[in-house]
Amino acid sequence: MQRQAKSATSQILVIMGLFVGVLFASLLQPTAAVAIERQATFQLQSPQPTPEITIRGTLRDGKDPLKGVKIIATSAKGFKGEATSDESGRWVIKVPEKGTYEVLLDVATLPADKPLAEGEPNPRVVEFGTTTNMGVIFKVGDNVAPAAASFGSILAERVVAGFSFGLLLALTAVGLSLVFGTTGLTNFAHGEMVTFGAVAAFALSAWGFPLWAALIVAVILGGALGWVQDWGLWKPLRKRGSALVPMMIVSIGLALAMRYIILFFFGGTTEQLPSAQSPLLKLAGVTISRNTLVSLVVSLVVIVAVALLLLKTRFGKATRAVADNPALAAASGIDVDQVIRMVWVVGSMLAALGGILWAYYRPGVTFNMGQQILLLIFAGVTLGGLGTVFGALVGSVLVGLMVEISTIWLEADLKYVGALAVMILVLLFRPQGLLGRRERVG
């Protein structure tokens, strides 16, 4: 036991060293970071050392981009900047600081047959929030009917979007829930596993991988990161017999370190994965973007596969046995550590996949994108019942629906508030969650 504890400690030291080593190795070989940065800035006119603060948008008439349209941004402090849309209808105005700007579309530069859509405010006032990029959409062309849709069709659209969002949350929630179920750890670093998937996919495609390969390799790398985490950190901690609260705080430290390592290499900008812009499709009267639909199908297929894995295979049975009672599982011949290791790998792969889908859903890849949905994942997991996988699925879908449907009435910048508030209310009345067991409540 003594020796085991000692080797556990040295294993932790190894992983810490690895962390620092990765840092310094990359300092000595800055080419990798530079490669990403080069890719990151190629769409902009010139690279800048500080994080760019921009107002940007894309002008389209239906599917056709509008070229050569002039946009002017002015601030009360006397700043004036302008941009002209390029072949793909894209325009970017760099601004010196976050603040309030008036954005004006020069109507004279629009094609004569494509006027600004009715009811579109021009000029309009934009105000920066916490992001460094501010998107401004001007709807152009008479075929765009602003806000004329009926309540029923809006609701249907929100429900579809909610399912898509909820299922991607569910993907990420499975890992969190499985880890909690088998080890009791509330893992605050799970959000960074989500970010990692998206950032890895972006970096790989920037290095010239075709999109499909980049996505697959990113998911595999996510699984590898999960393996390394459990091997270097969590397993040694379990061997030392660490209590759950210190492990939770360790996961917070890990989350901070990983988030800033990603920021260190990736920078504070928002980047897009290939084909982040997708055409709108009309299915049975509901307008949905192609990416949202693909995301919905992918998550559905993967979730069914995971469910089958858990219900039908030996590994699934072993996992459920460990979640139920680790000591009993060990006594009946299950290699508990092996099961937990697999849980980490599978959970991390699902988190990475969820991160890629989240990058398409938002859309955009940023260093803190995982942190943004971590609490929604927690909300889904808690709603369904901590530690129950199927509860996590149901809870996540409910959270996704709640977030999207609430935007009908709530301001978009408050859409996460509803879901978090409901989570607190659920804890008040049914703390074990919808599908949880009573005994889990302390």
Partner: protein, 326 residues
């Protein structure tokens, strides 16, 4: 590299009112977690409530300083009640998730555009500190204390901030030696044992949550007074995690641990920043930009938090026997 400047900067951090504000908020966490065993991951929310309560009552309602202070304190008491009633009966990790979620709700609400007239949304609020600086007894001018430079404004806020920290620390010191404090520590060790002695555990926990929350809201006000501005982006979950790092550095179940922890936290941040920037300027480091140097420090914060928790969970001043967890 100018070591004198780097060390003076680090020294300035030790006494800066921001450090005092961290120390006070971490002291609140010490009451919550170190003494009562409550996992509060929403201290940033308490700080935001204090800062906004103070700013809004001054700006929107024109309240004088004492009324604004009282409003901020009452708001944080209300927040503690709202948080505590559903969660204090549940297991510790539920409280963690609920407090972090509630703090984020506070941040979303003060950031939303629909309340711009009240909260200034993402830009926040400013110029609410007049009432505080009107009380400043120091005549305008520059003051030299040892190697440190102050003007009348910074001297006033620094003195008040540390006086407040000292006052709150002595309150905690006294409370934890009272019968009330002994019951609280008993709850931390074994809730059921205390309950079987006929104590109302829920009420004790709630009182601890409220006291720590009030410290948090006062810290939130201190945090805004030096610049006279409050911005919602400062009150994210990372603020809470930095406070935890400061608390665990010093020792969670100690009165002065949070103060020492906050000082070390800021001195180390300042020193690494100064040294890294100095090396970059002198050309010794060419592979880092100054922005990356800033980010590198926070990677170290994360690693420090992990290392501390694994190898020295009782912190620098703490006693390993008195740990909130075994």
């Amino acid at each position: 590299m100018d070591f004198a400047t780097i060390f003076t900067n680090a020294l300035t951090q030790i006494v800066s009112p921001i450090t005092a504000s961290y120390a006070l908020a971490a002291l609140g966490l010490a009451v919550h977690f170190g003494y009562a065993g409550l996992l509060n991951f929403g201290q940033a929310g308490f700080m935001a409530i204090g800062a906004y309560g103070f700013a809004i009552s001054t700006l929107t309602f024109g309240a004088p300083l004492p009324v604004a202070l009282l409003a901020a304190i009452l708001a944080s008491v209300a927040f503690a009640l709202v948080l505590g009633i559903p969660t204090l009966r549940l297991r510790a990790d539920y409280l963690a998730i609920v407090t972090i979620a509630a703090a984020e709700i506070v941040r979303y609400v003060v950031t939303t555009n629909s309340l711009t007239h009240l909260t200034g949304s993402a830009n926040g609020l400013a110029t609410f500190e007049r009432g505080f600086y009107d009380l400043n007894p120091f005549p305008p001018g520059n003051y030299q204390v040892g190697p440190l430079q102050f003007n009348d404004r910074t001297l006033w806020i620094t003195i008040i901030a540390w006086a407040l920290v000292l006052l709150c620390a002595s309150i905690v010191w006294g409370l934890m030696r009272s019968p009330w404090g002994r019951v609280l520590k008993g709850i931390r060790e074994d809730e059921h044992a205390v309950r079987s002695l006929g104590k109302n555990v829920f009420v004790y926990k709630m009182e601890a949550l409220i006291i720590g929350g009030i410290f948090g809201s006062l810290a939130g006000i201190l945090f805004t007074l030096p610049t006279g501005a409050v911005q919602p982006a400062n009150y994210g979950t990372e603020l809470t995690f930095f406070l935890w790092t400061a608390l665990l550095l010093g020792g969670m179940a100690t009165v002065f641990g949070s103060v020492v922890g906050a000082m070390i936290f800021w001195v180390v941040l300042s020193l690494t920043q100064g040294i890294l920037l100095g090396l970059i300027e002198s050309g010794a480091i060419t592979f880092l930009t100054s922005i990356q140097a800033g980010q590198l420090r926070y990677i170290l914060v994360g690693i420090a938090l992990m290392v501390l928790m694994i190898f020295r969970p009782q912190g620098i001043l703490g006693n390993k026997k008195e740990l909130a967890f075994s």
